[in-house]
């Protein structure tokens, strides 16, 4: 079936549907978990929250009643997917459909039929060819392989069944405007480097990948310091066991095979998502943007967000955080804002599954607002409507709004009426996260199935479980690169310089949107990326890098690396070094500093501007456990220049109004924030800023 021309597209701000642009504000509602009578009131309440899109998974496990035999409502009315989508259309909602195959959603087999997870041909394999078991309640189960051809064949049948139900309901014929491909593709949280996947189909893919990457089997052998003579000689490493190293053959000489394995595992996921997407298109589920979502732990993830965005239109991050994790939310959003095409949260946790540490309503709302403060531009409330194995949704399972719905309604209304999705947070500085170092950190992970993603997701450093081996370098690069990132993040924040985190895999063109880039650089680096950095510097961008100049490529072969023009090379051994480097950077480009500051120092401020550069929304955040009287001050281009002209601010959650002269004093309870709309700003005669609400 030839693809139809796109009537729905991702824009810089949201979703273009026909001739309208709407923000991606969605709410999750699982039709098969609700009584049919509850569908209509629940959907109405979801709409009343201000959400234009209803999102749902389509669970293979639920619809398949026997192999190849599906119930889409003939037996159980709750399973009538088509009726659900048509009801959404009747009520004026768009639909975001997520047909899996993996959906998690606290289903016992993560949405897969039990026969699939126990089909050995479908299962991922450990190094010893055993199953790879995920320890989730209420049943631990062997996870499927992202390489298994048998699995793909089964998924194709499933997609065909889904398509038969809703193919003709894709926009413009129906309300479906977004399709998600699979879910949280991180090897089902068994993501440790040598956990999986040693499935025979994966090993075949590896061989092709290695030969393609290095150009020939001979070059692959050279890179891996191995004696490959034929394709079958290429085998995956099963454990990281560094050698002692000698002067002639340092320990790093044996690293390429591990970095290749880590890179291959990223590629394996990307290819699987690509194939799933093609399979969806083949059955007629096409013509609207596709998405994917990554779970917590994205820095440690064996998945490349930029690579995935080459395959699907949009990749977002899922958020499930308590208020005390303010800075984790901040860091994750800065990574998303720097790296993704459009920063969205396909799952912004409202409530949580019962098996994890409890989250309160306040936690969820605070997390959403902090994420918006740091650059989020779209979200799906997960869950908007309550369901089995979940607590805390703003709408109960009968379709009644809970008390908590009011807070969400206010926030969504504020986002809508400020056209927040169209605003821009200027971030002139990027800290680059080189993929080769991320891969080394994963390859040297020492806690096995207590995986890197798990370690990061519970709030520890992404490199916390990486070894301390120096591997023949002057220090453990797998740990030090992150330490440098963290020190610069600290210094930039302290100096009020807005920044983002930039995945090393982003397209080169993305670099041009920054004034300055900070690049951890050690003995080895990706030559391709380094060329991008030197080009950025040649074009006038500011580069801060260090502590070393690279001299080896990713196969640990010596090669020349050009010094970026006017680059500032730094040795960041202490926190003060990062502060000094940032001060030097500011001296070269004073415009990097935000013109709105806050005191005391724990208070954070972000400013979101409209297309003309006028401030429209200011977030003021108090992440501490103490109530604070904060003073926010404006200066520079946004100062009053002695005119005495004041801005007028309105807290969009509380309704309070403030006059912002040179400064404004705000009370902030513990772990709280204010979303302040600038209703009269720095424009001539303080005219009304064109509020839409």
């Amino acid at each position: 079936m030839p693809p139809r021309p796109a009537k729905v597209a991702i824009t810089a701000h949201g979703l273009r549907v026909g001739d309208r642009e709407i923000p991606i504000h969605a709410g999750a509602m699982h039709y098969w978990r609700l009584d049919r009578e509850a569908w209509r009131p629940a959907m109405k309440e979801l709409h009343a929250l201000g959400l234009p899109i209803v999102e749902t998974y389509v669970p293979w496990q639920v619809h398949e009643i026997a192999p190849g035999n599906y119930d889409f409502g003939r037996v159980d009315p709750k399973k009538d997917l088509r009726a659900f989508v048509e009801l959404a259309q009747e009520l004026g909602l768009f639909v975001f459909l997520r047909p899996g195959p993996h959906i998690n959603s606290e289903m016992t087999w993560f949405g897969l039929p039990e026969r699939i997870v126990y089909d050995k041909a479908c299962q991922a394999r450990s190094p010893s060819q055993g199953p790879v078991v995920l320890a989730f309640p209420p049943r631990m189960f062997p996870v499927p392989s992202y390489a298994s051809r048998t699995y793909f064949t089964e998924v194709a049948r499933w997609y065909e069944a889904v398509a038969d139900e809703v193919r003709d309901l894709i926009y413009p014929n129906g309300p479906i405007v977004l399709l998600q491909v699979d879910n949280e593709a991180s090897y089902y949280f068994r993501d440790a480097p040598y956990d999986q996947d040693y499935h025979p189909d994966a090993i075949e893919q590896l061989r092709d990948w290695v030969i393609a990457r290095h150009g020939s089997i001979e070059e692959a052998a050279r890179a891996h310091r191995a004696s490959y003579t034929k394709r079958e000689d290429i085998t995956p490493p099963t454990r990281f066991e560094p050698t002692e190293g000698t002067e002639e053959r340092p320990a790093w000489d044996a690293l390429a095979v591990h970095l290749d394995w880590a890179a291959f595992r990223e590629d394996l996921i990307t290819r699987a998502i690509k194939e799933f997407k093609e399979m969806l298109a083949n059955v007629g589920l096409t013509g609207v943007p596709t998405t994917h979502n990554l779970p917590l732990g994205e820095i440690s993830s064996p998945t490349s967000l930029p690579d995935l965005e080459d395959v699907v239109d949009l990749v977002g991050l899922d958020y499930y955080h308590a208020r005390r994790e303010h800075r984790v939310v901040k860091r994750r959003t800065l990574y998303l804002a720097g790296t993704s095409r459009l920063p969205i949260a396909p799952e912004l946790g409202v409530g949580a599954p019962p098996w994890f540490t409890p989250l309160s309503h306040e936690d969820s709302l605070y997390t959403a607002m902090v994420a918006y403060a740091y650059g989020l531009r779209g979200m799906c409330l997960y869950m908007a409507v309550d369901r089995d194995r979940w607590y805390g949704a703003p709408i109960d399972a009968q379709g009644n709004p809970r008390l908590e719905a009011a807070g969400w309604k206010r926030l969504i209304h504020a986002l809508e009426t400020t056209a927040f999705h169209t605003l821009v947070r200027r971030t002139p500085v990027a800290i680059l996260l080189p993929r080769e170092y991320m891969r080394l950190s994963r390859a040297t992970h020492l806690l096995g199935p207590f995986t890197p993603v798990t370690v990061e997701a519970i709030g520890m450093s992404p490199v916390e479980a990486s070894s301390e081996d120096e591997l023949g370098f002057e220090g453990p690069i797998q740990v030090l690169w992150w330490k440098m990132v963290a020190r610069f993040a600290e210094a930039l924040s302290a100096r009020n310089v807005p920044y983002v985190l930039l995945d090393g895999d982003v397209p080169e063109a993305r670099l041009r949107s920054f004034r300055a880039i900070i690049v951890p650089s050690f003995d080895f680096a990706s030559p391709q990326r380094w060329r991008a950095i030197t080009q950025f510097a040649a074009d006038g961008g500011l580069v801060v890098h260090g502590p070393a100049m690279p001299r080896l490529d990713e196969t640990f072969t010596p090669r020349p690396f050009e010094v970026p023009r006017d680059a500032q090379r730094v040795l960041v051994d202490r926190d003060e070094d990062a502060f000094a480097a940032v001060d030097a950077l500011i001296a070269r480009a004073p415009e990097l500093v935000l013109d709105v500051t806050a005191s005391p120092s724990a208070i954070e401020v972000t400013v979101h501007e409209d297309g003309r550069g006028a401030p429209r929304v200011i977030f003021v955040m108090n992440p501490t456990k103490e109530a604070v009287r904060a003073v926010v001050t404006r200066s520079g281009a946004w100062g009053d220049s002695g005119t005495g002209h004041s801005w007028k601010l309105e807290d969009r959650m509380s309704g309070e109004r403030f006059t912002f002269g040179t400064s404004v004093e705000l009370s902030l309870p513990a772990a709280s924030l204010r979303m302040l709309e600038v209703i009269e700003g720095p424009r001539e005669d303080a005219r009304e800023m064109g509020r839409t609400g």
Binding site: T108, V133, G392, S461
Partner: protein, 465 residues
């Protein structure tokens, strides 16, 4: 134990958090600990505390770990779960970990030989079968952990698990049979003021917990409640029976009382609260009656001991009060002991611990923390070792290193008793408990605490009801 189709529904965030906070207060409090004051929490950990300040007392020592990964005697990684990376850790070897928790401000140290976690998961995975339920799966994992520990590949100091045999899934199921039989429900409903604060209804079907319903669900069945929990509890119980399953055990009360009881170590606290209707337990299955009886006996023994200066329960003979049930138990000691030994743990003790989960702060400063009660506990320990008939498996308890814990001695077995026999004994016991509690309380209150108030008022209320 948990059905693969388990339904958990009907909780808003507050009701769920409230429920968790009752049984695991630290889990909820942990969410409220200080946020990081650095832009990158891991940086703060790595940059300051761990490397510079880890050697020394940490306010966050509770629950924190030092994890050491070692290969051939060399430390390949060490980190503190709160403070992060620990450089240049002074590792004395796998068999000399005693000083490390103190040295690095952690509750425990876990030393891992490199590769042990991978092997542990491989072991557990290889034993799992498709038909295993979650309990069987967890037991596979625990067994694999123990094997790794027994082989010295994983060393934890102090060792968290006692060296008791692991139960089989069948034995766990049999235990559950007694606690919550098939097609029966357990109801917990807690009020705060006039509002339902949290609630949970559990149902067991086909041997497994298959439904956990929360307050939303409950209120949909009952309609608005009146606000007087002593009256409302009947509506709750009826709704559970009608919509879920006949109620096997129900616990109803206001937040203050339930929270206090769940965290109380005070002997007799539960028996007293039930007798005075501070909380309502209804219905009261035999095992709960036994537990309450034991609880009352402990209370009586303690008070008696305190009153008369120690010795064999002072002048008070709890055996007389417990005579009906103890008569039954004496005849069954052999059978029951075998169950406990086979299980490797005492189900009732677990229940008692469950009911008396202790908040570490409150345990030191709570309402039972007076000097008098501390002295009493010590004396009770002496008396118990000699005489308490219902602690016939104290040898097991001693082996488990739990002889400091009076709860370890409340091991009254129930699983194999004839139901009629036990019910009859229990009825006698319940009456006796009421009498003995009140008698003991009155005597003590007059002599030690002054005139009694609450308990006797509660008793009157029960009579009036």
């Amino acid at each position: 134990m948990i059905s693969s189709d388990v339904r958990i529904q009907g909780f808003d965030a507050r009701a769920f958090t409230n429920l968790v906070s009752l049984f695991a207060p630290n889990v909820v409090f942990r969410q409220e600990r200080d946020p990081a004051d650095s832009d990158a929490p891991e940086h703060q950990a790595a940059g300051h505390a761990a490397e510079d300040d880890a050697r020394g007392e940490s306010p966050e020592r509770d629950g924190s770990l030092v994890v050491v990964v070692s290969k051939a005697g060399n430390v390949r990684k060490a980190f503190h779960t709160v403070h992060g990376r620990v450089r240049d850790l002074d590792f004395p070897g796998f068999d000399r970990l005693e000083g490390l928790p103190e040295m690095y401000g952690a509750k425990r140290v876990i030393a891992l030989r490199e590769g042990s976690l991978e092997d542990l998961f491989a072991r557990a995975s290889s034993r799992m079968h498709r038909e295993d339920d979650y309990v069987a799966q967890v037991l596979h994992v625990i067994r694999a952990i123990r094997e790794e520990m027994d082989e010295g590949r994983i060393v934890v100091h102090p060792r968290p698990f006692p060296s008791v045999p692991l139960p089989t899934p069948q034995l766990v199921r049999r235990t559950l049979d007694s606690v919550l039989p098939d097609d029966r429900s357990f109801v917990l409903a807690v009020w705060r003021g006039h509002s339902l604060w949290t609630a949970a209804i559990l149902r067991r079907r086909a041997g497994e917990i298959d439904w956990i319903a929360g307050p939303d669900q409950l209120l949909a069945w009952t309609g608005p409640l009146g606000g007087d929990w002593r009256r409302d509890h009947r509506l709750v119980s009826q709704a559970a029976a009608e919509h879920v399953a006949p109620v096997h055990l129900g616990l109803y009360g206001d937040l203050r009382s339930v929270r206090r009881l769940l965290r109380s170590r005070e002997a007799g606290a539960w028996a007293k609260a039930v007798a005075s209707r501070e909380v309502i337990l209804h219905p009261t299955p035999p095992y709960v009656a036994v537990a309450l009886g034991a609880d009352a006996a402990r209370r009586v023994a303690q008070k008696s001991s305190a009153m008369f200066g120690g010795g064999l329960f002072g002048g008070f003979d709890p055996l007389r009060r417990l005579a009906p049930v103890l008569g039954v138990l004496r005849n069954r000691v052999g059978e029951v002991a075998s169950v406990t030994q086979a299980l490797g743990f005492d189900p009732l003790k677990l229940l008692a611990q469950f009911l008396q989960r202790v908040d570490p702060v409150e345990a030191n400063e709570g309402e039972e923390g007076s000097d008098v009660s501390r002295v009493e506990e010590g004396r009770y320990g002496e008396a118990d070792a000699e005489s308490v008939v219902y602690s016939f498996d104290r040898e097991d308890a001693a082996n488990e290193g739990e002889d400091h814990d009076p709860l370890a001695r409340t091991s009254i077995p129930y699983a194999d008793l004839d139901a009629d026999e036990l019910d009859s004994a229990m009825r006698g016991l319940e009456d006796d408990v009421d009498d003995s509690t009140n008698e003991g309380e009155e005597a003590l209150d007059e002599d030690v605490d002054g005139p009694a108030t609450g308990e006797r008022e509660g008793t009157r209320e029960r009579g009036d009801d």
